[in-house]
Structures are given as structure tokens and as C-alpha cells.
């Protein structure tokens, strides 16, 4: 297109340049945006398995660090990369350094959910996605992103997408959301496509779902209409299933997420597995971080100009022990790190109230001490991206949370 529409962001940049007060801009009053969910995008990635925050965002400037984790010189092209003279990132995140320099990559360190002591993945993830302070009310029935959406205006089923075949508890609940797994690749002969529509036409529920399925399955550039034989279609389906068990679907998920977020979707969530690094963690972390980096870069390239309105956060159920265990891995711990990326975030920094790694500063003498509830950061992000009220955040979205100071994570 030769004439690009004036986006809200472009407008703001321009009005700021003209010296116009943003606060006074009539376009920013709640009235104007009351019927729409706004322009900003939020992607929440759940890192399942417990990401080792200390191994990812390494506090090499902490006097106790080297004794705990060893010395990794930052000289070669393959070593860790210095961030700010105190923290360095894991070499596998090196491809994201241009984002760091552009202020589009940041970290929050020494944070955790309110989950303590039992260190079970199952309960930890449940709590992370439920957003509740503990599990005394039993296991969760809905997720915090879904509860947040009940406070957003102009929501449709397309406003949020849970992507992938995992059940994203974080997005389940009363607000209708869309679900799609890019590995549910539908391939049918042209004749079967028509006949399926005809057969489903008997039942409106099926008919509507099929229509949408055709649209979504065909949107990845791999059309539903296929001239393959039935045995080829079978082989293709099995291949998709195999790919899903081996990983490698992340890129497709990121591509799909970007595609939806360019349109009507404002919120997307999916998970990345492989963080439970009990042994030989340099191998395991390399792989998992490589995938995370790839997903973030894929989102950036897929989102195009929308990247500037997007915040991506990657959260995990707990951090890991500060000491390596006997098999060069780490066991389940407490505080860890959150990864943020996107054009909408105020990156280029590690947000933390660093507690230190000497033994007396650790939680139960084994884990990084949580210095703040990670829900507060997620809360402030939503506050700034979607204007969610602090009252809603502290009562229904994250019950029992005290939001505290605004860490100003969004530009």
C-alpha cells in the first residue's frame, strides 16, 4: 500500500513531536476507546518445567556466582554476553542482542509466583496460570488472562487465542477465546472438502466450526485443498504428529500467533517446554533458549509494524536451585527470571531488586530469594497495555496481590 493509515502510535509520536500533551489528547480519553479493546498486544509464553533464571540471566557480577556456577569468560563468540556489567545472558540468547540494544528486550529477575516449598511442576504451573495466591481453594478453574479479559471492552472470540495443543489454563474461563493448533493441519481432496461442508450443513454447530477450520487451516500458506492420495495424507498427518512430539512446532506457533495479532487478536498465549534441566543443563538450556529466541524473532518478523505495540512475556512456574547438582543440572527452586520482548516494552535493562547469592541471602539456603511477586509485573503490564484497573488486578485477576510500585515496563 502506498498510503499507510495513521496508526495510533504514529499519531502519538507525531503529536509528541508537535509538543502536544499526550494526557490532553482527546483521542486518549477512555471514552474514545471504550468500545474497543485498544491497539496493544500481549503475548504470554508459559515456559513449562521451571526455567533456571540464574543460568539464563547470569549475575556474574555477584561475588558468589563463580563458586556456584563456574567461570564462563565472555570473550569468544560462543560465550555469554554481557548486559550491564553485572548480568550476562546465556549464549543461546545471543541472536536477541540487537533487540536488547534497541530497548526491545528486557528481563525481570529474582521474582516468583506465591508458590513455595513443595516445588511441584503441576501445582506450580497451576498457580502460575490461575494467578491465585495459593492452592488452598483447590485446583484452578480459570486463568488470569481470561479473568483480565472480562474487564476489557469490545471483546470478541477472536480477541484472544490459545495456541498449540496444550490446554492453556491461563486463558480458560468464562470469556470465550479462540483455540487453534497450527499442527492441526487439515488436508482434504477438493471433493471431500465440498462433501464435508454438505454433510456438516445439517448441524449449525458443526457447520460453523468447519467453516472456521477451513479458514484457519488454510491460513498457513498450506491450503486445505490437496491433491495428495489418501496414503500421502495419512503420512502427512503422522508427520505432523511426529513433529509435535519432537518439538519444532514453535516456529509455526509463532507464525500463527503473529498472523492473528496483526488482525483482531490482542492476546495470545502458548507454551514452550523443555526447561526442567535436572542434568547436563548446558545442553538442555541451549536447546530451550534457542527455541525461545527463535520464537521471539519469528514474532517480530511476523508482526511487522504491530511489533511496536506488542509486549511478549515469558514466565515460568519456578526458578531452580542456585547450586548445580551432582549431574550438572539444577533442581526445582523458587525465584527465577521473566523474559520480556517487544516494541512496546521499555527494555534494555534487568529489572530487579537483587537479593544476592551468598548462602544467608538464599531462600531456605538453596534457592534464589524471591524479591517480588511476578504477578505484579504481569499486572503492571496489563495496566499499561490495556488500562486494566488496579482494583480489578488486585481483587479478581490476581487475588491477594499488592501491585506496589510501577516498574514501568511499557513505553
Amino acid at each position: 500500500m502506498s498510503q499507510r493509515p495513521l496508526t495510533r502510535r504514529a499519531f502519538l509520536t507525531r503529536s509528541a513531536a508537535l509538543g502536544c500533551s499526550v494526557a490532553a489528547s482527546p483521542l486518549l480519553t477512555p471514552m474514545t476507546f471504550a468500545a474497543a479493546p485498544g491497539d496493544n498486544r500481549l503475548v504470554v509464553i508459559i515456559l513449562r518445567g521451571g526455567m533456571d533464571g540464574i543460568g539464563v540471566v547470569r549475575p556474574y557480577g555477584d561475588p558468589a556466582y563463580r563458586a556456584l556456577r563456574g567461570h564462563h569468560p565472555m570473550v569468544s563468540d560462543t560465550g555469554p554476553v554481557d548486559l550491564d556489567g553485572f548480568f550476562a545472558i546465556h549464549p543461546a540468547l545471543r541472536p536477541l542482542m540487537p533487540l536488547w540494544h534497541a530497548g526491545q528486550l528486557g528481563f525481570v529477575h529474582a521474582v516468583s509466583t506465591p508458590y513455595r516449598d513443595k516445588r511441584s511442576h503441576f501445582d506450580g504451573q497451576d498457580l502460575l496460570e490461575a494467578g491465585t495466591p495459593d492452592l488452598s481453594q483447590g485446583l484452578a478453574r480459570d486463568g488470569w488472562l481470561n479473568r483480565m479479559m472480562t474487564t476489557m471492552p469490545g471483546i470478541t472470540a477472536r480477541s484472544a487465542f490459545a495456541i498449540g495443543r496444550d490446554n492453556m489454563a491461563i486463558l480458560s474461563g468464562k470469556t470465550p477465546v479462540s483455540n487453534w493448533s497450527p499442527d492441526s493441519d487439515l488436508q482434504l481432496s477438493p471433493q471431500a472438502m465440498l462433501l464435508a461442508e454438505m454433510v456438516m450443513a445439517e448441524d449449525p454447530l458443526f457447520s460453523a466450526a468447519l467453516k472456521e477450520a477451513y479458514g484457519l487451516a488454510g491460513s498457513d500458506g498450506d491450503p486445505v485443498r490437496s491433491l495428495a492420495s489418501e496414503s500421502e495424507i495419512l503420512a502427512e498427518m503422522q508427520q505432523n504428529m511426529l513433529a509435535a512430539t519432537r518439538g519444532g512446532t514453535e516456529t509455526k506457533i509463532a507464525e500463527f500467533a503473529a498472523q492473528q495479532l496483526r488482525g483482531a487478536t490482542r492476546i495470545a498465549s502458548f507454551s514452550l517446554n523443555g526447561w526442567d534441566t535436572h542434568s547436563q543443563q548446558y545442553k538442555g538450556l541451549n536447546k530451550a533458549l534457542g527455541r525461545l529466541a527463535q520464537v521471539i524473532l519469528e514474532l517480530k518478523s511476523g508482526l511487522g509494524p504491530v511489533w511496536d505495540k506488542t509486549a511478549v512475556v515469558a514466565m515460568t512456574e519456578f526458578g531452580r536451585t542456585v547450586r548445580l547438582n551432582g549431574s550438572n543440572g539444577t533442581d526445582h527452586g523458587t525465584a527465577g527470571a521473566m523474559v520480556m520482548a517487544g516494541g512496546a516494552i521499555r527494555g534494555g535493562r534487568v529489572v530487579t531488586d537483587w537479593p544476592g547469592l551468598e548462602e544467608s541471602a538464599l531462600y531456605k539456603r538453596r534457592d534464589l530469594m524471591p524479591t517480588r511477586d511476578v504477578r505484579a509485573h504481569a499486572g503492571w503490564l496489563m495496566r499499561e497495555l490495556f488500562g486494566t484497573s488496579v482494583r480489578d488486578l488486585e481483587s479478581t485477576i490476581f487475588p491477594g496481590l499488592e501491585m506496589g510500585n510501577n516498574p514501568r515496563l511499557v513505553l
Binding site: A140, R165, N179, D185, S229, E230, T245, S327
Partner: protein, 460 residues
């Protein structure tokens, strides 16, 4: 409307079969249900008792691993644990195959459907290690033997089962004034999870007449319900909170801690009118419709109350009620969909027996995940959703359609003629559109797929 053998097979059984004739009456269905469990004998699934051997070995290896981390013995133990986990995973896939075969070859489909229903009502899953594969063995031991008895027997069997206690965090719930708490002081405390779920999900229902105080008191009464890996369920008096507990206005305990008091409260909860209503409504929703008629639920509830929770009588009322025979039923859950497709295709047990874990994963278990049912991994203790809307999503329908077109050729090397298969799979419920699609499809695989994907087949 009343009994129709085909519809009975579809709605209350595992679907139509080209080989096995439908039961001729409600009476015949119920008689078979109270008879011997032929499918459990023909397609065995490991009992939980046997499964405990795996847990024991895992615990033994864990102890070795912890003892001297980094040592050769510890590394060998790590490997052994990995092998144990792997074997359990492979065996669990095999049990899934057996579950499918039971559905394919049973002459009493209601039993399989009820095993799934009650297994879901009492959802339990392991959170760590080999225990993550224990769901089928748990259902085999705790649920399946009690399908046709009184609800209280089912309730007691589930609540005392190690997997259930583990899933709902009961085994470490310690009374604040118990012998253990006064000795140990730290890391002990009451866990309300099981008590809350028993009231909310398993008996009275979320709208039931209970308060937080009842939850608390029941949690205190439940202290002592625990298990040991070697011996299974154990009532540990040292965990038990002393004193009288009042649940729904009735007092329990007070003397020395006794398991009998826990049995008593479970029986009272099972016989409570709110439980009757909750369970009968849930059965009607599961088998008939998201919105069953009040008349049906009331009739079932009355029978439940009169018979003190005799499930056979409740099933009888359900099957004999005209409102249970409305034409368009629920959407099949993926397990019902895939199971009834296997039945319609008369998938041979020898063929499934030859499938390795990978084949089962690629062809059935993973596609079911895409349909929305990651096998034996429901999100929470409330189990799988019942609402049709939850299953008929774009990705769910795409996954069902793709599976129906692609996979039957693997399950049945000798695919039937679609024009015959319409009758086999749908009986009199075939529509003109489906019959036309069966004829017009370009290949057998497409024809079979379209029939299986048709709304008439996907509803039960």
C-alpha cells in the same frame, strides 16, 4: 419416545458394530452390567496393586540416586529411573489400546461408558515420576468394580485410593493437634483440598448446602487418610486431628481416631439429597443432553433417594425414561468418537496388539489431543467438560475430520464400501446428505471419513 436398540447402542453404549448385535432391551443391558466383566478379562489392564511394584522400584532407585550424587551408583540409578519411566509410558499406551479394544468388542457398552464417566467424576492423575501413568490402573481397581453397586461404595473406594489421595494432596494433611504435629512442629498442616473437592465435585455439588466451616471440619476428619508405596492405603492415626468434628450439622469422631468415622461421613454424604440431585443431573447431562429435562432428573433423583444410592436403579430409571430418548444427543467426547469409530470398523485386537507406542501415539493418542482430549490429562479435578460447545471448536472439528479421513485405513486394512458403512455406522440415523457423500466420495478413505465426521455419527 422409548427404547430403540440402535440408539441405545449409540447413546448408552459404544456405538454400532458390524459384528455385534445391539442389546434387545433395557433389561438385557442392565443384566449384562450386573454380570461378569468380560472385557476386563479379555483385554486386561494392569491393576494398581501391580503398578505399586513400579512405584516401589522407583523409590528404591531414587534413594540410591540421592545417596551419593555423581557417583557411578547414582548415575546408574538415574538411568534406571529413566527406564522405569519409559516402560511405564510404553505400557500406559498399551492400556489405552486395551481401552479401545474393550469399546470395540464389548457386548455391554454401558459398562465401558460408565467406567469412563465415573473415572472422570473421580478424576485423579499422578503428578510425578511413574505415578503419572497410573490413571488406568487406578480406574481398574477403584472405579470399575463398583459401577453397579451403591454410590457410597464407589465414593469410599475412590477416596481411599493412593492415586486419589496423592492427586488431591491428602496424604500429607496433618491435624494441627495430631500426634505428629505436636512432635514434628514444622512442615505439617492441614490440607483442605480433598475435603473441598469431595463436597464440591464428588458429592453435594458446588451449589450444595455446605460452608467453609464444613470444609474445614471435613478436612480435619479426613486427616490420617494416607498411603504407603509398599502396602497401599493406610489410615495413620498419628496424623489424625483429635476431637469431635461437625459436618453438615452431624458430629463425627471424638474418641480415638478411627477410619470408621470417615466411612460414616462418606456414607452420609453419599446419601444426602443434594448428592442425589447432583449425580443424577450429571449422569443425565453426560448421557443425554447438556440440558436434560427436569422430569428426567427428578425421576432419577427420586429413585436414588429411595434406593439409598443404588446405581443400578438409577441407571434403570434413566434408560426407561422417555426423555432419555430425544433424537439429537450430545457430541461424543474424543474417546467416544475414536472408540465408536474403531467399533464401526471392527478393528482387530491382533492389529492393535501389534501397534507399538509410537503407532498408538501417532495414529490415535495425539490426534485425540488435537481434538481436545489429551488422554488421562484433564486440566483439573473437575475432569472433562460436558458442554458440546467445548468440543466443537474449529481445531477440534478439523482434527476429527482429518483423523476420520486419514487413519481408518491403518486400523482396518480392508476398508468397507462406504455405501455399506453408512448403514453399519449410523443405522437408521443416516441422513440423505451423508448417504450422498458416501456415494460421491472419490475414495473409500474419503467416504469412510465423511461418514465418521458427519454430525449424525459425532452425536450420541
Amino acid at each position: 419416545m422409548s427404547f430403540d436398540p440402535d440408539l441405545a447402542e449409540i447413546r448408552f453404549g459404544c456405538g454400532l458394530s458390524p459384528v455385534l448385535a445391539p442389546a434387545k432391551s433395557t433389561k438385557a443391558i442392565l443384566a449384562a452390567l450386573s454380570g461378569p466383566d468380560k472385557m476386563a478379562a479379555r483385554f486386561p489392564i494392569e491393576s494398581f496393586e501391580t503398578f505399586q511394584g513400579r512405584m516401589l522400584e522407583r523409590a528404591r532407585q531414587s534413594a540410591i540416586r540421592r545417596k551419593d550424587r555423581g557417583s557411578p551408583a547414582s548415575r546408574a540409578a538415574t538411568k534406571a529411573i529413566r527406564r522405569l519411566n519409559q516402560t511405564a509410558r510404553i505400557d500406559a499406551a498399551g492400556w489405552f489400546g486395551q481401552t479401545l479394544m474393550r469399546r470395540t468388542w464389548t457386548e455391554n457398552g454401558l459398562r465401558e461408558r460408565l467406567a469412563h464417566f465415573w473415572g472422570d467424576h473421580f478424576t485423579a492423575r499422578g503428578k510425578t515420576g511413574v505415578l503419572r501413568r497410573a490413571t488406568s490402573p487406578y480406574i481398574e481397581d477403584a472405579i470399575r468394580p463398583h459401577l453397579a453397586g451403591r454410590f457410597e461404595e464407589l465414593l469410599i473406594a475412590a477416596v481411599k485410593h493412593p492415586l486419589f489421595l496423592h492427586y488431591l494432596d491428602q496424604q500429607n494433611s496433618v491435624g494441627p493437634n495430631s500426634a505428629v504435629a505436636t512432635r514434628r512442629k514444622k512442615n505439617t498442616g492441614l490440607n483442605e483440598n480433598l475435603a473441598r473437592e469431595v463436597l464440591e465435585l464428588h458429592t453435594l455439588g458446588v451449589d450444595g448446602p455446605y460452608t467453609q466451616q464444613d470444609v474445614r471440619q471435613l478436612a480435619e476428619l479426613f486427616t490420617g487418610l494416607t498411603f504407603q508405596i509398599r502396602t497401599g492405603f493406610k489410615f495413620n492415626k498419628h496424623f489424625a486431628e483429635p476431637g469431635v468434628k461437625t459436618v453438615l450439622g452431624k458430629e463425627y469422631g471424638g474418641g480415638p481416631a478411627r477410619l470408621r468415622d470417615i466411612h460414616a461421613v462418606l456414607r452420609d454424604l453419599a446419601r444426602h439429597p443434594a448428592t442425589a440431585r447432583h449425580l443424577c443431573w450429571k449422569l443425565a447431562v453426560h448421557f443425554v443432553s447438556d440440558t436434560p429435562t427436569e422430569a428426567l432428573v427428578v425421576a432419577m433423583t427420586r429413585r436414588y433417594d429411595e434406593s439409598r444410592g443404588d446405581l443400578m436403579q438409577v441407571y434403570e430409571t434413566l434408560l426407561n425414561h422417555p426423555d432419555a430418548w430425544i433424537p439429537a444427543g450430545n457430541i461424543k467426547q474424543p474417546i467416544d468418537f475414536v472408540g465408536s469409530a474403531c467399533r464401526a470398523l471392527a478393528v482387530a485386537p491382533e492389529l492393535i496388539a501389534e501397534f507399538d507406542e509410537r503407532a498408538l501415539q501417532l495414529n490415535i493418542i495425539q490426534p485425540m489431543g488435537l481434538m481436545g482430549q489429551i488422554w488421562e490429562r484433564p486440566e483439573g479435578p473437575d475432569g472433562w467438560p460436558e458442554e458440546d460447545r467445548q468440543w466443537v471448536t474449529p481445531q477440534g472439528i478439523a482434527a476429527r475430520l482429518q483423523w476420520a479421513v486419514a487413519v481408518p485405513q491403518v486400523l482396518q486394512p480392508d476398508l468397507p464400501d462406504p455405501r455399506d458403512f453408512v448403514r453399519t455406522a449410523l443405522g437408521a440415523r443416516s441422513s440423505a446428505a451423508t448417504a450422498f457423500a458416501a456415494k460421491a466420495a472419490e475414495s473409500r478413505a474419503d467416504g469412510i471419513g465423511l461418514i465418521l465426521a458427519s454430525p449424525a455419527f459425532q452425536r450420541q
